[in-house]
Symmetry: C2
Subunit: 242 residues, 2 copies
Amino acid sequence: MAGEARAEALGKAGQLDFPRPLTTVDVVIFAIRDDRLQVLLVQRPAGEGEPFPLSLALPGGFVDVAKDRDLAACAARKLKEKTGVISPYLEQLGSWGSAARDPRGWSATHAYFALIQADASALTNDARWFPIGGGRLKEKLAFDHGDILASAIQRLRNKVEYTSLPAFLMPAEFTLPDLQRVYEIVLDRSLEKSAFRTRILSADMIEPVAKMRRGPNRPAQLYRLKKGREPVYFVRTFNPPV
Amino acid sequence: MAGEARAEALGKAGQLDFPRPLTTVDVVIFAIRDDRLQVLLVQRPAGEGEPFPLSLALPGGFVDVAKDRDLAACAARKLKEKTGVISPYLEQLGSWGSAARDPRGWSATHAYFALIQADASALTNDARWFPIGGGRLKEKLAFDHGDILASAIQRLRNKVEYTSLPAFLMPAEFTLPDLQRVYEIVLDRSLEKSAFRTRILSADMIEPVAKMRRGPNRPAQLYRLKKGREPVYFVRTFNPPV
DNA sequence: ACAATAGTGTCTATGAGACAATATGGT
DNA sequence: ACCATATTGTCTCATAGACACTATTGT
């Protein structure tokens, strides 16, 4: 941090009155709905001077220096405002900043990504779920939000290969085949049943509840996440198919 | 991004005259020197109103909206200013922003981490290398730079378990035992020779040059990195010792 | 009994860990 | 010849992939 940059900008030390970039936080919110990975988007407002009027965009907005203690709190606030969800999986994705990404001037956004359970959320009117088909979103997004979303999808897919992240997309109780289905939806390929079960069960991340899911076939054991909300890291990835 | 946040802050649409956080970029620069992992630090200036006067800090400073096209360019500029290095391995680490981290006000920094070859750098006067012993730095740093550095060390160590990142710390030509030594320095544990060689050689990331390194023992084959500057990802980590 | 899905077992392949054996230079 | 380090080989172990087999419910 500076002093030096200050001198560069103004030739005067001890002052902070040089131009500051706009600072925003955006949140990529994922959930599983209708057996598909979906992302929550909002529509940009149409007012005077608004960039990308009526375009779809990630939920987010300017950091409020009065309200937000830090970046993570700002992201959590935006998530809660749109979905009502309070304590999800929330991870920092990265930041995007440039002179060109916002027509209003040099701006930098801090992007987060959240995994929530769709059923547990209560959306505001302006927010809607959009399915991600074949690892991409059909719709064009405002700003560089398409890039940010693509990066979030890549990060999610990559981590799903060697972590228990999909557990955070599940309802409170679920079966192993349910969980495998979610892994397969995110990865967009099928996984081998017995290897999957071995991996998950030996990870000590879930515990059986004294109930079974019944259907027109053999009942399945229901599980729930163990307390520790941390994701589990496996020492190998699922090997991609040849 | 906003409109909404604008309304929150001012109750007036189409305006951008609400308080903006300070925006900085900081760079964690690693190199191997004297068989140790070292990090480049600078001393804070002592002028009037300067926070943390004379403390050690990561190289960095305010984003210059006139000079810097984007965040990565800003990070590359700061790296070049301090070390003269132009095209290193440069990766975004994350961002840290809060009301409290800088006494001058709400600020957010975009942190990058760079891997360079120490011998190829020409330091400015104010920058010095500091060894990282046992995964920690002895010195206290200004702002939250201690946290940022700890995060960088953790990310580096973690990635070294399953990527070829240490290759970017090597000189143009090096032997396999050299490379293994660097892996071991970063991980702070010894690796098994034959497994290491198998992994590296089958990754198709280096190629032999028609030279050997000679010493008072059997000569060692010299290698260089293949063109593609991308790091290689392995499907397994080195298994940590039991 | 049959369909459908849950759950287990068996066999193979890959790559890491341990460690021994061999190779090749300088002295 | 001897030392030191480079390089290769052998054997074991853990876990993924393929795939078959068994288990348990509803109809």
